[in-house]
């Protein structure tokens, strides 16, 4: 094992430094048309008419479509979909109704992007505006003028006897928390390119999706083509953790147009579209009733929540509410739990799964509730946490709820130890003392922590093909594409160690349906877990094949052979005959006596039973400017146990980027200042370099999972999940006001109002003793 556990640089890491990239926008096909969408400016209303005549007359315009030119077609609901949800699927182009500002109403196809935009301005859209629904909680059951019920679906998860637990409790407290709507990260924009080849009768699509095979099925269904007539190619994809990787109406429109117009069609989203019309995220409000004992034992949680789903249920739209309900109990052993989630339609852009979907929100609500218990019982929150962790001897621990139809069962949880490690590594006693000292001097400085478990490695299945060419080069083909997170190099590390071949001889390809079919979705984190295990399985088969072939060629029993650096020799001899894997590959060429008909080739499949559950401790230190009430996150750290780590640098990069993204999202929303009516504003409302916190990562590797032979759990969202909750607690600490933060992103306006109130109390004639003084 010399590659596993090593920080091997990711492939093509420096390509951006040389301009050596081929994203969708960089693929130039002859006679390609640019698509531009005409979007509704009205959030809700009856679509009276769409007049495309003037646009069609503009020179350079190939076609203009409204729903009249497009057979009724809608996006599928891929996750947790059902026939009952059909009315909530998004049409590719609005039909009788427009349901959000930004909804595509017409599509223009023109010779250049500029002409397409000129023509789009000439499309006259008439809408009879109606009153939009903006508040998911207060929404009436049926929208006026709309035939759909406002509640698309209700998510229910429960175990145990709530009434009994409440009866047994010393205290029952109800709290309301919410996480605001956000737009996913900014760069890069979505893009799609489709090309119909009449000679081959094949539609080729280049797009950065995460669920390539599902998308292929969706396209073949939408166009009525055989599955084999749809090819999907993965272009260079820049790390994209937003909802941009989801199949969108725009993607299917490109595919339709390329097929109908017999010309390549591309769509390159512009930044304004991304925020005003792209999928949004988060937007959950929860009322939690918790029952607990005075010693801090957490007995039960009874939660009702409302999800601001937006105007339609997108293909991945139900991931967030489902995972919110599934992960809310987190690492705590409850006697009873009940969650009822109302997935509500509003006249805003639909939401989808972005990094940490549902879990960021769950960690925030849950850890706020732990603070509530601690406060009510006059205990430290750490004591309350430790008191309630699922016992280490109870692992694997069945949590009695499903997450995306997979039973939640914790595969190793030593959170108490991880908290100790975090305390030591991040010198939290020093940070805590410093924050205290600063508060004594009148500054607003605080420290917060949060603990969480994270579902990872969602199946159901993934595949890998490994083959060795005649020169001894190993090729790995997987269904998964590399999104910039570097999974390809992790796959190579796995294969290199198992087969016994140098990294330099390995090439990895993926996300290309011409080379491999089958699933390969980056849903949740843990591509390395699911696909990596498929690679491992294939590598083991390949190794056996190499040894068997070499045994015949060398006249030595296979069990006495070893493969090192791609050369096979007798394991206990340092000298003597060696042959290269390339020679074995040549000998195994189909048609030759040694061949089994496939050459030096192996397939690996990984059918995932249960997900893995890595866990972590997030830590945040904040400073609040007493004059402006602006919050700055000075430190953001995470201690994370993802089992064995294949490539520490990749893992660390993932966690750091999650911390930075999460710290920004906990303070600012891309949609700050948007009241929900009209189009969402196009402004970059997230932290920049000046706001970056100092980040630290601790990779614990204490609890390798028994679920896969490598013992690996996923890393992807580990940085983002707990940091918002930690920041909330840190703000409470800085203000010395337990339970102050009830909403993410943290509102400076609320802090300002609080400070104002406090100052007034201070100047009040009868001065009450302050908390700080009482504590002495």
């Amino acid at each position: 094992m010399k590659n596993l556990g090593r920080s091997v640089p990711r492939y093509g890491a420096d390509r951006r430094l040389r301009g050596d990239v081929r994203t969708v926008a960089d693929i130039a096909l002859p006679r390609c048309l640019d698509m531009r969408l005409v979007r509704s400016a009205t959030p809700f209303g009856r679509l009276v008419s769409v007049d495309c005549a003037e646009a069609r007359a503009l020179p350079g315009v190939a076609a203009v479509w409204s729903s009249a030119q497009l057979a009724a077609s809608a996006l599928p609901i891929r996750v947790l979909g059902s026939g009952a949800l059909d009315p909530y699927r998004q049409p590719l182009l609005a039909g009788d109704m427009v349901r959000y500002a930004g909804e595509p109403v017409a599509a223009v196809f023109a010779e250049t992007a500029a002409i397409a935009e000129d023509a789009a301005e000439l499309v006259a859209v008439e809408v009879e505006a109606d009153t939009p629904v903006l508040d998911p909680v207060a929404a009436a059951s049926v929208l006026s003028g709309d035939l759909r019920a406002t509640e698309a679906t209700t998510i229910r998860k429960s175990f145990g006897d709530i009434h009994l637990a409440v009866h047994n409790a010393d205290k029952v407290v109800e709290r309301r928390f919410s996480v605001g709507r956000d737009a996913p990260s900014f760069l890069p924009q979505r893009a799609s390119l489709a090309c119909w080849c009449q000679a081959r009768e094949v539609l080729t699509i280049w797009a950065g999706w995460r669920a390539v095979e599902e998308t292929r099925v969706a396209v073949s269904d939408a166009l009525g083509l055989p599955l084999s007539a749809v090819e999907i190619r993965a272009p260079d994809i820049d790390g994209r953790y937003g909802a941009g990787a989801e199949l969108s109406a725009e993607d299917l429109l490109c595919a339709h147009a390329a097929f109908a117009l017999r010309r390549p069609v591309r769509w390159l989203e512009d930044p304004a579209e991304q925020i005003s019309a792209g999928p949004h995220a988060r937007g959950i409000e929860a009322v939690a009733r918790i029952a607990f004992c005075e010693d801090g034992q957490f007995l039960a949680m009874d939660v009702e929540f409302w999800c601001d789903q937006g105007a339609y249920v997108l293909p991945d739209g139900l991931i967030a509410p489902d995972l919110f309900a599934a992960m809310l109990p987190g690492p705590y052993a409850l006697e009873a739990y009940r969650a009822v989630g109302h997935v509500r339609m509003t006249n805003k852009p639909p939401t989808s799964a972005v990094r940490g979907a549902g879990r960021v929100e769950a960690a925030f609500v849950r850890e706020r509730l732990m603070d509530t218990i601690a406060h009510e019982c006059s205990l430290s929150v750490d004591a309350v946490r430790r008191r309630n962790f699922v016992a280490a001897d109870a692992v694997p621990a069945d949590r009695h709820v499903d997450a995306l139809k997979s039973r939640v069962s914790l595969d190793g949880l030593r959170l108490g130890e991880l908290m100790d490690m975090a305390e030591k590594r991040f010198a939290l006693d020093v940070v805590r003392r410093r924050a205290h000292d600063r508060r004594v001097r009148g500054l607003l400085s605080g420290l917060g922590t949060a603990v969480f478990v994270e579902p990872s490695g969602l199946g159901p299945v993934d595949r890998a093909h490994l083959s060795v060419d005649h020169k001894g080069n190993l090729e790995i083909i997987t269904t998964a594409a590399d999104w910039g997170q570097g999974t390809f190099v992790a796959f190579a590390q796995i294969a290199a160690d198992i087969v016994g071949i140098e990294m330099e001889r390995i090439r990895v390809r993926g996300g290309d349906t011409c080379r491999i079919a089958g699933r390969g979705a980056t849903l949740l984190s843990g591509r390395t877990v699911v696909t990596g295990t498929a690679v491992q399985n294939a590598a083991e088969v390949l190794r056996e094949k190499i040894l068997a072939g070499a045994a015949v060629m060398m006249g030595v029993p296979a069990e006495r052979l070893a493969i090192r650096a791609g050369r096979i020799r007798e394991a206990d001899k340092h000298f003597g005959k060696q042959i290269d894997v390339g020679e074995v590959a040549r000998a195994l060429t189909p048609g030759l006596p040694l061949s089994d008909g496939t050459g030096l080739y192996a397939e690996g499949t990984n059918e995932v039973g249960a997900m893995t559950y890595p866990y972590g401790v997030a830590v945040a230190a904040v400073e609040i400017d007493p004059h402006t009430a602006f919050v700055k996150v000075t430190r953001a750290s995470v201690a994370y146990d993802a089992g064995n780590v294949i490539n520490p640098q990749l893992a660390e990069d993932q966690l750091v980027s999650g911390l930075v993204q999460g710290a920004s999202a906990a303070l600012y929303s891309m949609l700050d200042g948007w009241d929900g009516s009209g189009s969402a504003p196009f402004t970059l409302r997230c932290a920049g370099a000046a706001e970056r916190p100092a980040t630290e990562v601790l990779l614990a590797e204490e609890t390798p999972t028994p679920l896969n032979p490598l013992g690996i759990k996923g890393v992807g969202a580990g940085g983002i999940v707990g940091i918002g909750a930690a920041i909330a607690q840190a703000v409470d600490d800085a203000l010395q006001t337990p339970g102050f933060v009830e909403h993410l992103p943290v509102s400076s306006a609320a802090i300002r109002a609080h400070l104002r109130e406090r100052a007034q109390q201070k100047h009040a004639p009868v001065e009450e003793p302050r908390d700080a003084e009482l504590m002495i």
């Binding site: 926008a25 930044p271 910039g484």
Partner: protein
């Protein structure tokens, strides 16, 4: 909006791109970023869909770092433009590239192209760029991946490498 729509009239322009003399025909409304991508076939300056995104479209026009998305191509007529696509052999650019690679400040983040060119421009203007200057440079971009610390370290290393190569 005025009543009559301007008729598209393309303009022939010449400039030097990464040392190569080029003549292209563009509409006046084509930004330099789009012209570099579409007329010159250089993919290094990321597509932003119009507008400036996180500093990613920085190029050097006559040695000055500017956002290629915030000027029109015709304005670059007669200039010398350098982009992140430039071949090896440029002292400061080589130093910046190798420093970015060394610090892992490369990844797949499109803003890295912008950071590279801003760093080249800044180090050519001021080889002794101080730490405040480095922070200013960081503020000129937006790293989707939050890799600011590696970028900062890379710029500091590039400063040393570029001086050594001088």
């Amino acid at each position: 909006m005025s009543g009559s729509r301007p008729v598209e009239r393309k303009i022939r322009m010449s400039f030097e791109v990464n040392g190569e003399a080029l003549t292209i025909v563009v509409e006046p409304r084509t930004t330099l970023a789009d012209a570099l991508r579409e007329a010159c076939g250089l993919a290094g300056t990321p597509h932003t869909g119009g507008g400036e995104c996180g500093g990613s479209t920085t190029v050097l026009v006559d040695g000055e770092p500017v956002f290629a998305s915030l000027m029109f191509a015709v304005q670059a007529h007669g200039t010398s433009v350098r982009t992140v696509d430039a071949p090896a052999g440029d002292r400061v650019l080589d130093a910046v590239r190798s420093a970015f690679k060394e610090h892992g400040a490369s990844r797949s983040d499109p803003s890295m192209a912008g950071y590279v060119m801003q760093s080249v421009g800044a180090l050519e203007r001021n080889p002794d760029l101080d730490d405040e200057g480095v922070e200013d440079l960081l503020a000129g971009g937006f790293s989707h991946e939050g890799q600011y610390d590696s970028v900062a370290a890379a710029i500091r290393t590039a400063r040393t490498l570029a001086k050594r190569a001088a």
